[in-house]
C-alpha cells in the first residue's frame, strides 16, 4: 500500500479554494437578493438553487457541456490557450458550483432575518449604506455566514459526482479523496479504500470541531446572541 498522500492535499486545496470562491459569490448574490422582490430575482433563485436539487452527475454533465471544447465557456478559454476540463481547476469549479446554494441560502436567510429597524436606525444616525452593511448587517449576520461557510466546506469536501464528470480521476491532479475511494473499491483494494475513508472522517471531524471552537471563541457574546 502506497503512502502517496496527494488525494488529501488535493481535497483540502480544492475545498478551501472552492469555499473561498463560494463565500464571495454566495455572499454577493445573497446581499443583492435580500429584500428584493419581483419575478426576475425569483427566476434567478431557481438557477442559484439548481445545483442543490440536481443529481451531481447532472451538474457535472452540464458543466462539461459549458466548459468542454465545444461549450461556450470552453471555447472562450481556448481563445486564451486554456482548458479546464480534466485539470485541477475543474475540481474547484465542480466543488464551488455544488456548494454555492448552501452558502447562498444561509447568508440570505441571515440577512433577511436582520431587524430592519436596526438598519434604519443606523441610517438616521448618518451611516452610508456601506457603513450600515459593515458595522451592522455583517456583524449581526455573522453566525449565518459562518454556518454557510461550514456547510459549503463540508459539501465541497464530499463532492464526487460532478468532479468525476468534469475533472476525471487523474492521480496527483484531480484525484480527491472521494474519487480515490471509488477507484480503490473498483480495483478491489478494500484496505486502501478503508484508509482513505478513515482519513476523510478525521478531516471532516477536525474541520467541524475547529470551526465550532473558533465561532465560540471568536466572540462569546456574539455566539450566544439571541435575536428576535
Amino acid at each position: 500500500m502506497g503512502v502517496n498522500l496527494s488525494p488529501v492535499w488535493l481535497s483540502l486545496e480544492t475545498s478551501v479554494t472552492a469555499t473561498a470562491i463560494t463565500l464571495a459569490a454566495g455572499a454577493a448574490a445573497a446581499v443583492w437578493r435580500a429584500n428584493r422582490r419581483g419575478i426576475g430575482p425569483a427566476l434567478l433563485d431557481g438557477i442559484f438553487l439548481l445545483p442543490l436539487v440536481l443529481p451531481p452527475t447532472v451538474v457535472g454533465f452540464i458543466l462539461l457541456l459549458l466548459f468542454g471544447r465545444h461549450g461556450p465557456i470552453g471555447r472562450l478559454l481556448l481563445h486564451f490557450g486554456a482548458s479546464v476540463v480534466f485539470s485541477w481547476p475543474a475540481t474547484v469549479i465542480a466543488a464551488a458550483v455544488v456548494s454555492f446554494p448552501l452558502m447562498y441560502l444561509s447568508v440570505r436567510a441571515a440577512l433577511e432575518q436582520l431587524d430592519r429597524t436596526l438598519l434604519q436606525a443606523a441610517r438616521t444616525l448618518g451611516a452610508s449604506e456601506w457603513r450600515v452593511f459593515r458595522r451592522v448587517s455583517l456583524p449581526l449576520a455573522w453566525p449565518g455566514i459562518l454556518a454557510g461557510t461550514i456547510l459549503a466546506f463540508a459539501r465541497a469536501l464530499g463532492e464526487f459526482g460532478a468532479t468525476l464528470m468534469l475533472a476525471g480521476s487523474i492521480p496527483g491532479k484531480t484525484e480527491t479523496i472521494p474519487i480515490a475511494i471509488y477507484i480503490s473499491v473498483e480495483a478491489g483494494e478494500m484496505r486502501r479504500a478503508m484508509a482513505w475513508s478513515v482519513m476523510d472522517v478525521a478531516i471532516s471531524l477536525a474541520m467541524v470541531a475547529g470551526m465550532y471552537y473558533w465561532t465560540h471563541l471568536q466572540n462569546p457574546a456574539r455566539a450566544g446572541l439571541v435575536r428576535r
Binding site: 438616521t124 444616525l125 452610508s128 451592522v136
Partner: protein
C-alpha cells in the same frame, strides 16, 4: 428653528394626510394605533417616501415632491427614537452612542460620549451590551445616541410604551429635559392622552390618517372640536344632544335637559362631561340647582387614590350605566353612607358641546 410638513402617502387602502408646523415647543401627535402617527415620523426621518408634499426643517427642504427633492435619511440630521429602542445588540453602550457622531478626533468623540453618558445617568454601564441593560437604561442609551448626532430635530415614536409605570415617569422626565435643552423641533408620538398633554405644548390629533384637530394642548382638551377628539382626549361620558333654546340642551341618552353657557354655539350633536368633572351636591341648594339629577350606583371601581363610580340616572332599574364619575377618596367617604338616590351635578361650565 422650525419643522413644517405637508404630506400625503397612500398605503393600500389607507391614505395619510398630515399638515403641521412645529417650532421650538414640542408637538405631540396623538392618535390610536393605525392612525398614521408612526408613518408621519418615518416620512420626516426619510425612512418612507411620501407620495406628495413638502418637508422643510430649519429652512432646509428635505422633501418636495414638486421639485423632486428627497434628501436621504442619513443626510437629514434627524434624531429618531424608536419604540423598541433599536439599539445595536453587538455594540456596547459607548459604541452605540458614538455610532452616529461625525468624524472627528477619537478623543473629542470620547469626551462627548462621556458627557452624554453622564447626562443620561449611564455611568458604569459603558461596557455593557444592550441586552445586559434594563428597559429604562436601554431607552436612555437610545436617547443619548439620538442626541449625540446633534440632531436638527428630535422625533420620538412612543418611546415610553415598552416601560413599566415606575420607569416610565423617570425616563419621561429625561425626555422632557432633553427636548427642552435641545431647543429644536421635537415631535412626540403617543396614543396616551396624558402623555401627549405632559410632553407636548401643542397637540395634533390624528385619526385614520387625517388630522382631526390641532392646537395648543389646553385648547384641544378644553374645546375638542369633535366627539372623536373628545374621546381620544379621555372623555368618558357623552350623550346625543339637541338644542332646545339658547342655553338649554336636551341630552337624549341621559333623558334630561342640561343648562349650558348661552354662547355655546349652535346645534350641538353631542353633549359630554369628563369623569372627573362629575360632582355630587353638598348643600340642599346645590341639590335643587340646574343640572342636578338623581342617580343610583350601578357599580364601582376602587383605585388607591380615587374611586370610579358608574351611575344610573333617574331610576335604579335598568341595565348598565349613564355616567362614569371619578371622585377622590374623601368625596367617596362622604357620600357612601348616604341613602340613594344621590344628587349628581354636571356643572354647566364643564359641559362639552360637540358639533360632530
Amino acid at each position: 428653528m422650525a419643522l413644517e410638513a405637508h404630506l400625503e402617502k397612500r398605503l393600500g387602502g389607507f391614505t395619510l394626510r398630515t399638515d403641521f408646523f412645529c417650532g421650538e415647543e414640542a408637538l405631540a401627535i396623538l392618535g390610536p394605533s393605525g392612525s398614521g402617527k408612526s408613518m408621519t415620523l418615518r416620512c420626516i426621518a426619510g425612512l418612507e417616501k411620501p407620495d406628495r408634499g413638502r418637508i422643510v426643517l430649519n429652512g432646509r427642504t428635505l422633501f418636495d415632491s414638486e421639485k423632486r427633492v428627497n434628501v436621504p435619511a442619513r443626510q437629514r440630521g434627524i434624531g429618531l427614537l424608536f419604540q423598541n429602542y433599536a439599539l445595536f445588540p453587538h455594540l456596547n453602550v459607548t459604541q452605540n452612542i458614538t455610532f452616529g457622531m461625525k468624524a472627528q478626533a477619537a478623543a473629542a468623540r470620547e469626551a462627548r460620549a462621556k458627557q452624554q453618558i453622564a447626562d443620561m445617568h449611564l455611568e458604569g454601564l459603558e461596557e455593557r451590551l444592550p441586552r445586559e441593560l434594563s428597559g429604562g437604561e436601554q431607552q436612555r442609551v437610545a436617547l443619548a445616541r439620538a442626541l449625540a448626532i446633534e440632531p436638527q430635530a428630535l422625533l420620538l415614536d412612543e418611546p415610553l410604551s415598552a416601560l413599566d409605570t415606575y420607569l416610565r415617569s423617570k425616563v419621561e422626565q429625561q425626555v422632557i429635559a432633553a427636548m427642552v435643552q435641545l431647543r429644536r423641533p421635537a415631535l412626540y408620538v403617543t396614543h396616551n392622552m396624558e402623555e401627549a398633554y405632559r410632553l407636548g405644548a401643542n397637540i395634533l390629533v390624528l385619526s385614520n390618517g387625517k388630522v382631526e384637530a390641532s392646537g395648543s394642548r389646553e385648547q384641544i382638551f378644553r374645546h375638542p372640536p369633535s366627539l372623536e377628539v373628545a374621546l381620544l382626549t379621555g372623555l368618558k361620558n357623552f350623550s346625543r344632544a339637541r338644542m332646545i333654546s339658547p342655553g338649554r340642551v336636551e341630552a337624549l341618552d341621559w333623558n334630561c335637559i342640561l343648562a349650558c353657557a348661552a354662547d355655546a354655539g349652535s346645534e350641538p350633536k353631542y353633549a359630554g362631561i369628563r369623569a372627573h368633572h362629575v360632582r355630587f351636591a353638598i348643600t340642599a341648594e346645590e341639590a335643587q340647582a340646574d343640572n342636578a339629577f338623581s342617580c343610583w350606583l350601578a357599580r364601582m371601581n376602587e383605585a388607591p387614590f380615587h374611586v370610579t363610580l358608574y351611575l344610573r340616572l333617574h331610576s335604579a332599574e335598568g341595565e348598565g350605566h349613564h355616567l362614569q364619575a371619578e371622585i377622590t377618596n374623601e368625596t367617596w367617604a362622604r357620600i357612601k353612607g348616604q341613602p340613594q338616590p344621590w344628587r349628581v351635578l354636571l356643572p354647566a361650565e364643564d359641559l362639552l358641546l360637540l358639533k360632530k
